[in-house]
């Protein structure tokens, strides 16, 4: 039995330690907002925060999480930047199919947490790991800038 801290709550799970955090969240904790897209750190749809840093949860085994706090898309709205980013996303009508957007929002929030006023190059660097097959990048960039403007 492992004990994880997820979105401020303590959760017990009975899974092998080598299971990626992604599948623990989705199949064992009913937190399906974190998505599966590639399984090899290429698409970013599985992005969560571990100890405040954006992490591809398909690459992190649950045994390696330890006591570090996990935040998922389901909990990000409770953080100040997460709430701002979600609001900016809706105002800019960012989503198309929406499948990549949980990961995009987790990466964007981590960017603002580390850098409240990112420029275009900062946005490129922080968001390069998140694919959007629908091509919503223009509105993602705008939404991040709008959210940053509200932080100021």
């Amino acid at each position: 039995m492992l004990t994880l801290t997820i979105n401020g709550q303590s959760r017990d799970v009975d899974v092998p330690e080598d299971m990626p955090l992604l599948w623990v969240l989705r199949d064992h904790l009913s937190l399906v907002g974190t998505k599966y897209g590639c399984g090899i750190a290429q698409c970013g749809v599985c992005t969560v925060h571990v100890a405040g840093k954006p992490v591809r949860s398909c690459q992190l085994t649950v045994g390696d999480v330890g006591t570090r706090a996990i935040v998922t898309i389901e909990g990000i709205g409770s953080t100040p930047n997460g709430a701002k980013v979600q609001k900016a996303w809706m105002e800019a009508a960012v989503p198309q199919c929406g499948y990549c957007q949980a990961g995009q929002i987790m990466s964007a929030t981590a960017l603002l947490d580390a850098n409240p006023q990112p420029d275009d190059a900062d946005i490129d660097a922080a968001m390069a790991g998140n694919l959007c097959r629908c091509g919503t990048y223009i509105r993602i960039r705008r939404a991040i800038k709008n959210a940053a403007a509200k932080s100021a």
């Binding site: 998505k35 290429q42 009508a93 694919l131 097959r133």
Partner: protein
């Protein structure tokens, strides 16, 4: 045997593409007039919409059945429920795949209903084509197909509410006005909410759709404004929405492994080893139906969670019978096409005027060879379906573009009557044409019949790359003639493509009618050569057009240069050429030279056509008629010494009639342009000895944020034609506009995709 089955699968897909492509001619009511009105019988515990048709003599008896207890939501028809608190629930009948239909359909109904949009709740309808008619999402046809039906549903419900108020107030219904879910009689100062009238209204006779007066454009209150996607609050907070998010009590998880070379069969596999693995509950071989669009042979692994199933899949060893498997090779196709390009076939498909005479008398002739590769769809949500075989019913949750077409096929595969299949629609994490095929739903049904619990079939990303219905490659040898007046005089095209059945083109591999009508040369000759192909092909966003327009409109630019005339002037002349043989006889084709002229002119104007650009910079333009839309695109860019392309801006001008949701339409225009840039720059599927070489996104470089253009400006000419779809038209003209811009900047002609094969890349 095997060949027949390949051909059958392909025939199914080809028919599907034809069906989803056709757009109704203007002014024809598609559904209500003929189908009659219907009501919603109520919602079962499972949230299932049970519908039946109303009409004629059965009408009275059936209305009696649909009475809801007072104080509950009242069903006005299969699309609309009204609650006492004035909340209006609207059912979207078609799949939401990112094209924004769940929002647009709601806006169309709510506008006719004069509903208060702030209190509309959108829900996904379940699958029942008897009630809803077509319930697919493909070919950009959802809007044109449903336009009349949805407006009539809204107007019909409003008429029932008005009839009740007129009776209660003893006034003429013509004196009652509707706005924001409230009816008002101005003269007496009376008003009532829809919610307060719904119980009585639901009992009113359903009006004859022909008696309904629909709004004219000037009366629209909701259509044409900007909307946030109705599911966006759930999307941004990670609520369950997609097929992959479905969870049921006691659910188990499955993978399905097919032969990496299409058509291979299972001889045996290491069953004992697999079944002994941690978390694995069962493993078995499935014979399948042998049809690519249904179930091909493979091995199912059932496990307690996805990870255990994936781990076991990694350890799976299958002895494949490859005797009937594909040995296709794209490098061979490419080499062979180049060799055969010059051998123009004896028997042309199109033959107008006298091409040979035109070539003999021409002021100039131009020849060029174009080629583009196979491509995969790979939407970001991998294929999946949850199925539960219980009580003689196959209950399914399917992220699909064609649930209505999938349902009977699933029934056939499961060996049950279609009435015994209950299909729930989920939000779909991208379609692009991949999910027009319901193969993964059929596999889930076949597996579910052998598992007592609900089971979620989950494809890996590698499965998705290996078992797609690919966009076929194509090879075009062109020869064109310019007459002494500098006009396009002849167009000859040898199209080298693929066949699954040895007779006609494989699905998605035919030269599109769009191009046939819109390349207006007075002397025109086309013929094709077809290579046999075992790998399945299908509809990929803007099928055919997505690559053929690149070849045709790049060559058109070459011809304009040979003519010595301005490209835009040359295009406008060609589009408006009077060639009687090229006037569409098919009434479903709405190609219009004047609409084409409108978008080309506006695009040139907005792009600053003719302006002087610095050395190394270029402006390119192209246009297309695709999926009922008339579109022009322009790209302004610069290219450095290392062939790095910096996009300055992209413009897209569309005439798709009136816009329903401006924000959603802009998103489609930007998204399709981005997808087209991504595909033109980098996407290519290589096949060797029947094996797809690209296995995941690391080998298939979909465009990422640092390379995304900073501006893509969409413009709409909102002509008075019936509205048509936005999912596809903004794709095809981007690649030729890009190639033409590269030529303008560098003098180097792009005749091959993807551009990365020619050494080009995008600058950050």
């Amino acid at each position: 045997m095997a060949d027949t089955q390949f051909a059958q699968s392909d025939a199914y897909l080809s028919a599907l593409i034809r069906e989803v492509r056709s757009v109704p001619p203007a002014g024809v009511s598609l559904t209500m007039g003929r189908r009659t009105f219907f009501k919603l019988a109520g919602a079962s515990a499972a949230g299932l919409v049970l519908g039946f048709r109303l009409g004629g003599t059965a009408f009275a008896a059936e209305t009696a059945n649909v009475d809801e207890p007072d104080g509950k939501d009242q069903a006005m028809n299969a699309f609309i429920r009204i609650a006492p608190d004035n909340t209006i629930t609207i059912y979207s009948k078609c799949p939401e795949i990112g094209q924004g239909i769940k929002t647009s359909f709601g806006v169309i109904i709510a506008d006719e209903l004069d509903a208060d949009w702030n209190h509309v709740v959108m829900e996904q309808a379940d699958i029942n084509p008897k009630v809803y008619g077509s319930q697919g999402a493909g070919g950009s046809t959802s809007i044109p197909h449903a336009w009349d039906q949805l407006r009539q549903a809204g107007a019909g419900a409003k008429a029932m509410l008005v009839a009740v108020a007129a009776g209660q107030w003893a006034v003429d219904s013509s004196q009652i006005t509707a706005r924001d879910s409230v009816l008002t009689h101005a003269a007496s100062g009376r008003s009532a909410t829809y919610g307060s009238l719904a119980v009585a209204a639901a009992k009113m006779p359903v009006p004859d759709p022909k008696s309904l007066k629909l709004k004219s454009r000037a009366d629209y209150r909701l259509i044409g404004k900007r909307y946030r996607g109705v599911d966006d609050p759930k999307v941004v907070s990670g609520q369950p929405l997609f097929g992959i998010d479905v969870q049921l009590p006691g659910m188990v998880y499955a993978t399905y492994t097919k032969c990496p070379a299409a058509g291979g069969k299972v001889r045996s596999f290491n069953a004992n080893e697999i079944k002994a693995l941690h978390g694995v509950l069962d493993a078995f071989a499935v014979d399948g139906t042998g049809m690519m669009v249904e179930v091909m042979p493979g091995v199912a692994i059932i496990a307690r969670d996805t990870w255990s199933a994936f781990q076991a899949k990694d350890k799976l060893q299958v002895d494949w019978d490859l005797s009937e498997a594909s040995r296709d090779s794209t490098s061979q196709f490419s080499a062979e096409a180049r060799k055969q390009a010059a051998n123009f076939p004896q028997k042309p498909d199109d033959n107008i005027g006298d091409v040979d005479k035109s070539f003999a008398n021409a002021a100039k002739t131009v020849e060029a060879y174009y080629e583009y590769p196979f491509a995969a769809h790979v939407p970001l949500e991998p294929m999946n379906t949850t199925a539960h075989w219980h009580d003689g019913v196959m209950e399914m949750w399917v992220p699909t573009q064609q649930p209505d077409r999938g349902l009977p096929i699933v029934a056939k595969v499961a060996g049950i009557a279609p009435e015994k299949v209950v299909m729930h629609q989920t939000r779909v994490g991208g379609g692009f044409g991949r999910r027009l095929v319901n193969d993964y739903a059929c596999e889930a049904a076949a597996i579910a019949k052998r598992v007592k619990d609900p089971v979620k079939l989950q494809w890996t990303r590698e499965d998705d790359f290996a078992h797609d219905f690919y966009r076929p490659a194509g090879y075009h040898q062109f020869k064109g003639a310019i007459d002494k007046g500098g006009r396009l005089d002849a167009w000859q095209e040898h199209f080298i493509t693929f066949t699954a059945d040895g007779k006609k083109e494989a699905s998605g591999a035919n030269l599109t009618d769009n191009l046939r009508y819109s390349i207006k040369a007075p002397n025109l000759r086309r013929a094709k050569t077809m290579f046999p192909l075992r790998i399945p092909t299908g509809a990929w966003r803007a099928p055919g057009d997505n690559a053929q327009v690149f070849a045709a409109q790049s060559f058109m630019h070459e011809l304009s240069l040979a003519s010595g005339r301005d490209h835009v002037e040359f295009l406008l002349d060609a589009v408006n050429r009077d060639v009687p043989e090229l006037v569409p006889k098919d009434r479903t084709v709405n190609f219009s030279p004047s609409r084409a002229t409108g978008v080309i002119k506006m695009c040139a104007d907005k792009a600053g056509w003719g302006k002087t650009l610095p050395k190394g910079s270029g402006l390119g333009l192209a246009w297309c008629y695709s999926h009922a839309g008339h579109v022009a695109q322009a790209v302004e860019l610069s290219v450095d010494a290392n062939k790095r392309i910096k996009i300055a801006r992209i413009l897209v001008v569309l005439d798709v009639g009136p816009i329903i949701d401006m924000a959603g339409s802009q998103a489609q225009a930007q998204g399709a342009s981005t997808d087209a840039l991504s595909t033109a720059m980098g996407l290519k599927i290589n096949i060797e000895n029947g094996l797809i070489q690209e296995q995941n996104y690391n080998a298939y470089p979909i465009l990422r944020m640092p390379f995304a253009p900073m501006t893509i400006d969409p413009y709409f000419i909102q002509s008075d034609n019936p509205p048509t779809g936005m999912g596809e038209p903004a794709f095809p003209a981007l690649a030729p506009a890009l190639g033409n811009a590269i030529f303008a900047a560098t003098g180097e002609r792009v005749r091959q995709l993807p551009l990365r094969d020619l050494g080009y890349s995008l600058a950050v």
